[in-house]
């Protein structure tokens, strides 16, 4: 051991040498572009006008936050999609996790099957659902007509409210499995002795759920919700395929709106400013997430 310690005497440059390839790549492909995007956001670079641009200061940010109803609408749309999605994902995920925790035989296989939607690309999930919602050949209309629940081939994306509901439904389908997995892991980490002790004190069924399970699952739920919340602010592929932001921009999320500004209108500077507004929001949420994590560690200690 003495000899080992001698041989393994730390060379100062070694950790840097080992870490440098990925740190260099991160600096080059993530940090530099981010700085460049910030620089761009202070210019008026617009590819549909021409390759020349000049410094305009915070003009793009002022426009985004105060004068651009389309962007502000997209913030609202994103919130309208996020709130019901998160609520249902949490409740449904908890429900399924509780059911799974009672299963004795075949739990791993059922869990893996239920987890599959979370593993597929949002693009593929949205495409499958887009076809299910299809007017003539879709499963939903055909099943409804066959069972007599519908009497016409219904267009499920015809009104803003229906389109938003469809996006929320597909999002719930796509990510409830994630919430279920997180909560199932949380449930399984609650020691059985607590339930036995509760039983001795007369806490069974609902009472044990209310007084033992829920309080101990609180942090797990907070972590799951925060991760979903942060990822939902980036919702893009799902709406791209399912509704392409329609009808009339009702399902345009912030990420999708920024994409359109950048790659349909080619307003590179303005799109950079919009993306920085999103980054700001995400950073605030990430800090809250870190704070919750720290709180949990403090509790655990």
């Amino acid at each position: 051991m003495r000899l080992g310690a001698l041989v393994l005497k730390r060379k100062r440059w070694e950790p840097f040498a080992f870490a440098s390839p990925s740190l260099a790549l991160i600096a080059l492909v993530i940090l530099f572009p981010l700085v460049y995007a910030f620089y761009l956001s202070l210019q008026n670079f617009d590819l549909s006008v021409g390759p020349d641009y000049e410094f305009v200061g915070a003009k793009n940010y002022v426009e985004a936050l105060f004068k651009d109803p389309r962007f502000l609408d997209s913030v609202w749309n994103t919130a309208v999609i996020i709130v019901p999605s998160l609520a249902v994902e949490l409740l449904l995920g908890l429900g399924i996790a509780l059911l799974l925790s009672r299963v004795i035989h075949g739990r791993p296989i059922i869990t893996a099957l239920l987890a599959i939607p979370a593993m597929v690309s949002p693009v593929m999930g949205a495409m499958a659902w887009r076809m299910m919602f299809g007017v003539k050949f879709g499963a939903i209309n055909n099943l409804g007509l066959q069972l007599g629940l519908l009497d016409v081939y219904f267009d499920w994306f015809s009104s803003p409210a229906l389109a938003i509901t469809a996006v929320v439904l597909v999002e719930i389908w796509h990510n409830t499995p994630f919430m279920m997995l997180v909560l199932l892991a949380g449930l399984q980490s609650i020691p059985q002795e607590l339930y036995d002790a509760g039983k001795a004190d007369g806490a069974e069924g609902w009472r044990s759920f209310w007084y033992i399970t829920l309080p101990l699952l609180r942090f797990t739920m907070a972590v799951g919700v925060m991760i979903r919340l942060i990822d939902l602010t980036k919702l893009f592929g799902l709406v791209f395929i399912l509704t392409f932001g329609g009808p009339g921009g009702a399902t345009e999320t912030v990420a999708f709106n920024t994409y359109l500004v950048g790659f349909k209108d080619f307003r590179m500077s303005y799109a950079s400013a919009l993306s920085y507004v999103i980054v700001g929001g995400v950073m605030v949420l990430t800090l809250i997430f870190l704070w919750i994590q720290r709180l949990r560690e403090a509790r655990a200690a």
Binding site: I30, V103, I116, M119, M124, G262, L285
Partner: protein, 293 residues
């Protein structure tokens, strides 16, 4: 005596009541899980049967749910008419290369963190920030830079961005696997005259190979699934499966059912495979963004 009999009867009734309640509870558990399975897997089942239908089955009423004469004609059409074979290969090539590259650069970094606590708490917070960073913030500067260097519409361009975006996740998981690795084995190898790099490659890697496989599979699925960079940075020759799907969304919801369903089946295949292979790691992988890219 009489009292005792009555007590037994009461106990028996209670036990029966308990068993009944438990039996009903079990039945309800499985009914609930069956409903969940139908909701979460139903769309896959329908897409699969749709992709195997003949054209006349689409127009039949009452609708045909399970094709009477399954045919692969839509797959053939997808592979020939829509160049699906090429885009499927693109996805395979790009995902495989990114997977290998991400693993190669992440392993030494994870090793530095696991063995020397390199970067301390700051580095892990930094990696978390990178994991949360919206891709939309990167795509505009990356697009402009790639245009400048001629990296759009190339495998290399996508592989570079996928590799780097994936580093935080890979490092994170690998640090966990390396911390579980007993340092004594490594020390023994180094006392026998092994350099640190050789110890890492020839001693540590073979033993943590299962962990590397987990990270590799998550990296593969993440790049396979990635959409935003793919749709902006690919051109006609380098489209991936995710980009191919967008070509079936033009012309309303009734167009291209055959080929679209076939492409979805091919597009979700890796996810099915990986979900079963990685059961134990799904929570960790998904929480860290393992499938998001």
């Amino acid at each position: 005596m009489a009292i005792a009999i009555e007590q037994t009867a009461v106990v028996a009734r209670r036990v029966r009541g308990y068993r009944l309640r438990r039996g009903v509870g079990h039945a309800l558990t499985y009914v609930g899980l069956a409903a969940a399975l139908a909701f979460f897997l139903g769309p896959f089942f329908w897409i699969l049967t749709t992709s195997l239908k003949g054209n006349e089955d689409f127009f039949a009423f009452p609708p045909v749910w399970i094709p009477t004469e399954p045919s692969l004609s839509h797959y053939t059409a997808l592979f020939t008419r829509s160049s699906g074979a090429r885009y499927f290969m693109n996805s395979l090539i790009i995902s495989s290369l990114s997977m290998v590259a991400a693993l190669s650069v992440s392993l030494p970094t994870a090793y530095a963190i696991a063995r020397w606590r390199f970067g301390g708490g700051f580095l892990s917070a930094f990696l978390l920030m990178l994991r949360m960073l919206p891709a939309i913030a990167l795509i505009i500067p990356i697009y402009i830079m790639y245009k400048m260097f001629g990296l759009t519409n190339s495998y290399l361009g996508l592989v570079i961005i996928y590799t780097v975006v994936y580093i935080p996740f890979a490092v994170w998981l690998l640090v966990g696997f390396l911390r579980d690795f007993p340092i004594e084995i490594e020390e023994a190898a180094m006392i026998d005259g092994c350099s640190r790099v050789r110890a890492l490659v020839q001693v540590v890697v073979p033993i943590i190979a299962p962990g590397l496989a987990v990270v590799a599979l998550f990296a593969f699925i993440a790049t396979w699934n990635e959409f935003l960079f793919a749709i902006v940075l690919t051109g006609i020759e380098t489209k991936t499966m995710m980009v191919l799907v967008t070509s079936f969304t033009t012309g309303g919801t009734d167009a291209f059912y055959g080929e679209a369903s076939a492409s979805v089946v091919l597009g979700v295949l890796p996810a099915f495979a990986v979900a079963f292979m990685l059961q134990r790691y799904l929570v960790k992988g998904l929480a860290l963004g393992g499938t998001k890219g």
